[in-house]
């Protein structure tokens, strides 16, 4: 889900790309990005519908979350947020209660095995405080009453291109390949408050596995299990070789529960290109306060003059 078409925005000097840094080393948009929900389709309602599966029957496969009890789901959210809410499209917001209820409904219908929830907004950690369904690992960028800051300002485009927390998480994940054995604990250990300028949080009380046993690739990279099939002789009339013939080469090197093939790594991304500047946020707040005062003043003046 991408609310803004930053890549193809006419103000983007580098059409078709979204660079993660001013040096333009890393193109986030790449060649094979699929955006399933874009622009005005990105609404709180659609997001909850995708999660819970309560979609109209006519909706195509690509817009559904086709997961089952073997699927691991990664949910990443970013944008303007606050205490227990995240803004969608400048006119609505999703609250921590809504996401918690949506996850509970997914749990009840066995739509996931595990969820990894990551959020980068101001006061992000409040967003996962209301979760109550099992097997959810959550992490956020900042504590209550704390802002998340942007990282790099690209002067060619005139906006900040990435948030600090996301930048350092991405930097860590770029060093991971599909066959890596790095664990979630390694990711959380890489958090550096001095660099991120806010206090990232981790919530693992709902998560059953120890963090150093949960691999990064359990949630990223679409890694499946594979089973080598014994050669089948093209002979007519031979009986079945029997089950003992299957060579079980279980590739899941992790001792934890196996992750099914539908290891759906779903990115529900709500990103806005103008990253969160604390000053813009404060300016907005101030503007709003003054605007409210002005409206009240006009109303009072109007009624007095009559």
């Amino acid at each position: 889900m991408l609310a803004d078409d930053a890549a193809c925005n006419s103000r983007n000097k580098f059409a078709g790309s979204v660079y993660a840094n001013p040096g333009r080393q890393l193109d986030l948009y790449g060649d094979n990005i699929e955006v399933d929900y874009r622009g005005y389709e990105v609404t709180v309602e659609n997001f909850i519908r995708v999660l819970t599966g309560r979609v109209p029957p006519s909706l195509p496969r690509s817009k559904r979350l086709l997961t089952d009890s073997n699927s691991n789901i990664f949910v990443y959210m970013t944008g303007h947020g606050g205490n227990e809410f995240l803004k969608f499209q400048d006119n609505e917001e999703i609250s921590a209660f809504d996401i918690a209820d949506a996850f509970e409904q997914m749990y009840q219908k066995k739509r996931y095995n595990e969820i990894f929830f990551m959020i980068d907004t101001c006061q992000a950690n409040t967003m996962y405080s209301k979760f109550y369904s099992p097997n959810i690992l959550a992490t956020g960028s900042s504590v209550l009453d704390e802002s998340s800051y942007s990282h790099d300002n690209d002067y060619d485009i005139g906006v900040s291109v990435i948030d600090r927390y996301t930048h350092y998480v991405l930097e860590f994940l770029e060093g991971i390949n599909k066959t890596s054995h790095a664990s979630m604990q390694d990711l959380f250990n890489s958090y550096d408050v001095g660099k991120i300028h806010s206090h990232p949080g981790v919530r693992d009380d709902l998560f059953k596995r120890p963090l150093d046993k949960a691999l990064i690739t359990d949630f990223f990279g679409g890694v499946a299990q594979a089973e080598v099939f014994p050669p089948v002789e093209p002979q007519e009339g031979t009986p079945n070789s029997g089950e003992d013939g299957i060579v079980d080469v279980d590739v899941d090197l992790d001792a934890g529960p196996a992750v099914g093939v539908a290891n759906e790594t779903t990115r529900a991304q709500m990103s806005s290109p103008d990253s969160i500047h604390s000053w813009t946020l404060h300016a907005l707040k101030e503007l709003r306060a003054w605007a409210c005062l002005a409206v009240v003043g006009i109303l009072v003046a109007f009624s007095w003059s009559r």
Partner: protein, 511 residues
């Protein structure tokens, strides 16, 4: 009704308000009353439009249905000539049943001597013959001497309640599946690519027999495609002898889902993929490596609940394109049919048992099909019981979740189908399966009803903040005037009761 003009007001250019028509008491009171009447009339409408439709659910019925367990009677008949083995066999089978409670869950094994009692469903029969064990329809031919009983009971246990397939290879039950066959050339431009394949022959010779046998359980749709550029997302490693290898880790990320379009997205059915992958001429032959790094003899692998992949290494001498004839496919498709059997969860026969009159491999016997149908029916009933229970639980838990007539209808249909499945379990296996699938579909449809989306959560202070500016400004003057008017009216009444002259301004109202 100001009929005459007061000279005093005439002089000032002002009129006495009490003389104005619209300031007459009854007019003013009617106006104020009209506002209140509208508000009171609008309250039911507002109540109706803002309340959430929450119909009563048949919770008690769901709970009682969810407690019930499906029981399949399995009738096994011993020939009269060998009635002596009955007690011994019964004892051994009971031991097996207790030894594997999860395999025998929902199965009720009943042994009898053939011909003693008529049965509703077709019974399984035992026959005596020395030599190899054979299956003929629902008959099992084996040596029925008393020394053979341990072996016989073990075989019967594997036939009637086969061990579940290890891992989560098997697809979850769906009434419809789509089989997508893809021939992928990694890079046709490098030469020696596969141009066409005789897919129709391959399917009709190797896949169709399985599909027609499985048509009681599922409905299959088939599609096929050939692609000429299907790059891998990684570099296969080079191994000695000029060969290339896929390590076990490479296999897990083999499918390049970002760049390969493996199935059309016309429907939402579950897709079983079968892929023949022809590596580029630059990287041939491509071998699958074992965990020790040595090439394996196998060139196919299975991804659980996804499908099978076969790596087709064309001879490196081959320069131009090549067509896969039905003879070529005869060496590939048996792998796919084996994989299909595994993915659909069809139990394997014990290795010492053979099917009589089997003129081809992969003949699915009645015993296998019945065992699969029993397992799928049990899975479906459990699935629908769980779903129904979770709907009831969620509705209690999340208070602002609406559910209307369609959800309730689906729940009732699901319960009815479950009831039917319980009843049919003892008479017809295929009917019980159909009913259980119906129950599962209905329960899922009820759960996924688009109308059952909880309203967004708003804290109480949000609601006050939204409603106060809107309503406070309108309601406060209304209440104030109503109060003032009420006080005036009371003052008037008191005035009349006290026998005093009524106030002047009240005069027109009385008249």
């Amino acid at each position: 009704m100001p009929t005459g003009r007061d000279p005093e007001t005439e002089r000032d250019g002002l009129r006495d308000p009490s003389q104005l028509y619209f300031q007459a008491d009854h007019v003013r009171r009617t106006i104020i009353a009209a506002y209140w009447i509208i508000i009171f009339l609008a309250v039911p409408l507002w109540w109706h439009t803002t309340s959430i439709e929450r119909l009563p659910l048949p919770s008690a019925l769901v709970e009682s249905q969810a407690e019930r367990e499906l029981q399949f009677p399995i009738r096994l008949q011993v020939p009269e000539s060998h009635a002596v083995i009955l007690p011994r066999l019964q004892g051994l089978l009971r031991e097996k049943t207790l030894g594997h409670p999860e395999r025998w869950k929902g199965l009720d094994l009943q042994l009898s001597v053939s011909g003693s009692a008529p049965t509703e469903t077709e019974a399984y029969k035992l026959s005596h013959r020395l030599g190899e064990s054979l299956i003929d329809k629902r008959q099992f031919i084996h040596d029925l001497s008393i020394e053979q009983m341990p072996e016989l009971s073990a075989l019967l246990c594997d036939l009637l309640a086969p061990p579940p397939t290890h891992g989560n290879l098997v697809f979850q039950y769906s009434p419809r599946y789509r089989l997508a066959f893809s021939l992928l050339n990694e890079d046709s431009a490098s030469g020696g690519y596969v141009r066409t394949w005789n897919i129709t022959a391959g399917i009709s010779r190797h896949i169709s027999p399985i599909l027609s046998r499985m048509s009681v359980l599922h409905n299959f749709t088939l599609e096929s495609q050939v692609q000429f550029h299907a790059p891998l997302a990684f570099e296969p490693r080079s191994i000695p002898d000029g060969e290339y290898g896929l390590s076990q880790e490479d296999l897990t990320v083999f499918v390049n889902s970002a760049e390969w379009t493996l199935s059309s997205s016309v429907s939402n059915d579950a897709v079983i993929h079968f892929v023949i992958f022809a590596p580029s001429a630059k990287r041939r032959p491509l071998r699958i490596l074992g965990s020790d790094g040595a090439p394996l003899s196998s060139n196919s692998f299975l991804l659980p609940q996804w499908g099978g992949i076969y790596i087709l290494n064309a001879p490196s001498s081959m320069e131009s394109s090549r067509d896969l004839s039905s003879v070529d496919l005869d060496s590939i498709f048996p792998t796919f049919s084996e994989q299909l059997i595994t993915l659909l969860g069809i139990p394997r026969l014990p290795s010492s048992v053979q099917v009589r009159h089997a003129n081809a491999r992969n003949v699915i016997s009645e015993w296998q099909l019945d065992a699969l149908m029993r397992r799928r029916t049990l899975e479906n009933t459990h699935g629908s019981q769980d779903t129904l229970r979770s709907i009831v639980r969620l509705v209690d838990q999340i208070e602002n979740m609406p559910f209307g007539a369609s959800v309730r209808g689906d729940i009732q249909n699901s319960l009815a189908a479950l009831e039917k499945a319980y009843a049919e379990a003892s008479t017809s296996l295929s009917h019980a399966l159909t009913s259980s699938a119906e129950a599962l579909t209905m329960a899922s449809r009820a759960f996924f009803d688009p109308g059952m989306l909880a309203l967004l959560y708003f804290p109480a202070e949000h609601k006050y903040a939204v409603y106060m500016p809107l309503f406070a400004s309108a309601v406060v003057p209304l209440i104030a005037t109503a109060l003032r008017e009420f006080m005036a009216w009371k003052r008037q009444r008191r005035g009349i009761a006290g026998g005093q002259a009524p106030p002047i301004e009240a005069a027109p109202a009385r008249g």
